[in-house]
């Protein structure tokens, strides 16, 4: 019965602390939220913790959710996850080592068709291997649609700094993609 509920109905049952509805919420959104968390965190354990915290917070604050159409509940939960991930990254503020080769900058742009063939797990591994702030900027700008101004406000950096971090993140990921494609070439 709970599988047929739409988002608004599911949110309503969750507000009433229905255990079956909460389980259904987890089954519907946990995997996507986990993917998002893996993008923001540097390891899968932190991502799993963040995913649990996100869903529990969503359940706790379900009464503040307003239905705005199909997909809005998922987007609302994703927003909670992004906010929690960003605050975690701000807390840590760790300088991380750069596992990048010092060499000539590649000017080859991978084609969309080539990138299409790359497994998602590889992409997630490369993104989570980025340094903390760079990873957050790349995720927020390229994947979650934030502007540089919003990123600067959230992370406590300048807009220029955000743009610079994004450029470096793109370069690093591009290098990984090109290297992977070269290795895969017959």
């Amino acid at each position: 019965m709970y599988k047929e509920l739409n988002e608004q109905e599911l949110a309503g049952y969750c507000c009433e602390k229905d255990p079956k509805a909460e389980e259904e919420l987890y089954k519907r959104y946990a995997a996507r939220v986990y993917t998002l968390c893996r993008r923001y965190m540097s390891n899968d354990d932190d991502a799993a913790d963040l995913m649990q915290d996100t869903l529990l917070q969503a359940l706790g604050k379900m009464q503040t959710y307003t239905y705005r159409g199909e997909g809005s509940l998922g987007a609302w939960i994703n927003r909670i996850a992004v906010n929690k991930a960003v605050s975690l990254i701000k807390q840590r503020k760790r300088r991380t080592l750069l596992l990048e080769q010092w060499g000539r900058e590649t000017s080859v742009e991978p084609s969309p068709e080539e990138v299409e063939k790359i497994p998602e797990e590889k992409l997630l591994a490369w993104i989570s291997g980025l340094p903390d702030v760079r990873r957050a900027v790349f995720n927020m700008y390229c994947l979650d649609g934030y502007s540089h101004r919003e990123i600067a406000d959230e992370l406590g950096i300048s807009e220029k700094g955000s743009a610079s971090m994004l450029t470096r993140a793109r370069k690093q990921l591009k290098r990984e993609i090109v290297r992977y494609l070269k290795e895969k070439q017959p």
Binding site: E23, A31, R32, G60, T96, L98, P112, E120, L143, I177
Partner: protein, 384 residues
């Protein structure tokens, strides 16, 4: 035309990662814990008290007696302070002592002792007229007059001659757990070093004296001459424990094994091998310089205690030379195998504290300040 990052976005948006095992059960268990916590009960009565108290205060402000004459600046002693307060009480307002309630505990003394004397002596105001101080109603005091506590009533703040009490905030020195552990360990190490230094041990070891002036006695064989010796670079490894104190600070300890091998050459007896084994217990405060998922670069300093657990000379057991204490500075690289386990390579510089007793001649005795290279397994006990 779509960029490669747009393709990445589309792929990851649609992708559902495989969830960790047991995550649903963990989620449901955490959800039950959260919902089992009792919700705070909202009681209506406190909310009704607020308007009631506000109404009471308003009534008091409206119907309170008129302001009394401000006391003239005078020498404020406790006796006169009481007189000031009693002067301000208008005689028209009858003050009656509350009837004693049978069976209740008598309160401690509230009656100021000075008030009694003032009442008896009378009071002369500025105009020179003698006025009588209105009677202060008797207040039930304790049975034992010695328990009476003289209470100085509140001195009106309007008087410019009243010195305000000097309030000194207590200095609070917060010592974090890291500082406490390091300081405590340092103290223990110093105490241990001093106790070791003062103890006398009977060793038959034919080794040099580890003295501050650097004199060394070489091992000798009766009737033979030592023609040369060489020490091999010590080897050290072990299991290290890392206890994170904060994001970048951590305390490192553990158990290391060190092996010191030396060769002594004699004119007649030839070469003799000496092998000495130590177990080292380091205690160090490390600072993480940089890290990522797979790598951690750190540096730290601390101390170590090395316990000689075995020594052989030409294959035969030899007396051990006790405990050595050293100060260490190290830097290292750690390769993270998982969240809690890693392999480390750690060059270190250490200075062996002179113990003033006889020690075996090893690389350490010839090089009190020595460089060593250690490696091993590191276990991270918990997250910061």
């Amino acid at each position: 035309m779509k960029k490669w990052e747009d393709i990445v976005k589309d792929k990851l948006e649609a992708y559902e990662s495989p969830l960790p095992e047991g995550s649903l059960e963990a989620f449901l268990a955490r959800g039950k814990k959260v919902s089992a916590a009792p919700a705070p009960k909202r009681v209506l009565l406190p909310w009704l008290l607020i308007p009631a108290v506000a109404a009471g205060l308003a009534a008091w402000f409206i119907f309170r007696p008129g302001p009394s004459k401000a006391p003239a600046p005078q020498d404020i002693s406790p006796r006169n302070a009481v007189a000031l307060v009693t002067d301000s009480i208008p005689p028209a307002i009858p003050v009656q002592a509350p009837p004693p309630i049978p069976g209740t505990v008598k309160p401690k003394a509230v009656r100021p002792a000075a008030a009694v004397q003032t009442r008896e002596d009378g009071h002369v105001n500025d105009s020179g007229e003698e006025t009588t101080v209105p009677e202060i109603p008797e207040i039930q005091g304790p049975d034992n007059p010695e328990e009476a506590v003289a209470v100085i009533p509140d001195i009106p703040e309007s008087s410019p001659f009243v010195p305000r009490a000097i309030v000194r905030k207590p200095h609070v020195i917060k010592v974090g757990p890291a500082a406490g552990i390091v300081a405590g360990s340092g103290l223990l190490a110093a105490l241990a070093a001093s106790s070791v230094k003062s103890s006398t041990s009977a060793h038959n070891a034919v080794g040099p004296f580890d003295s501050p002036n650097g004199s060394i006695d070489f091992p000798f064989l009766p009737g033979d001459a030592l023609t040369g010796y060489s020490h091999r670079f010590p080897v050290r490894g072990g299991v290290s424990l890392e206890i994170p104190v904060s994001e970048r600070l951590s305390i490192t300890s553990g158990l290391d094994y060190s092996f010191y091998s030396s060769t002594f050459t004699y004119a007649q007896a030839g070469t003799k091998e000496q092998a000495v084994h130590y177990l080292d217990v380091p205690l160090r405060l490390d600072w993480t310089i940089a890290s990522n998922r797979w790598l951690r670069v750190y540096a730290g300093s601390g101390a170590a205690a090395s316990f000689c657990v075995g020594a052989t000379w030409a294959g035969n057991p030899k007396d051990r030379d006790g405990v050595h204490f050293s100060l260490t500075g190290a830097g290292g690289i750690q390769f993270n195998l998982s969240r809690h386990v890693g392999l480390y390579v750690e060059p270190a510089l250490s200075w062996t504290v002179p113990s003033g007793r006889q020690v075996l001649q090893t690389w350490r005795s010839d090089h009190p300040l020595m460089f060593s290279l250690a490696g091993g397994l590191r276990i991270r006990l918990r997250n910061p």
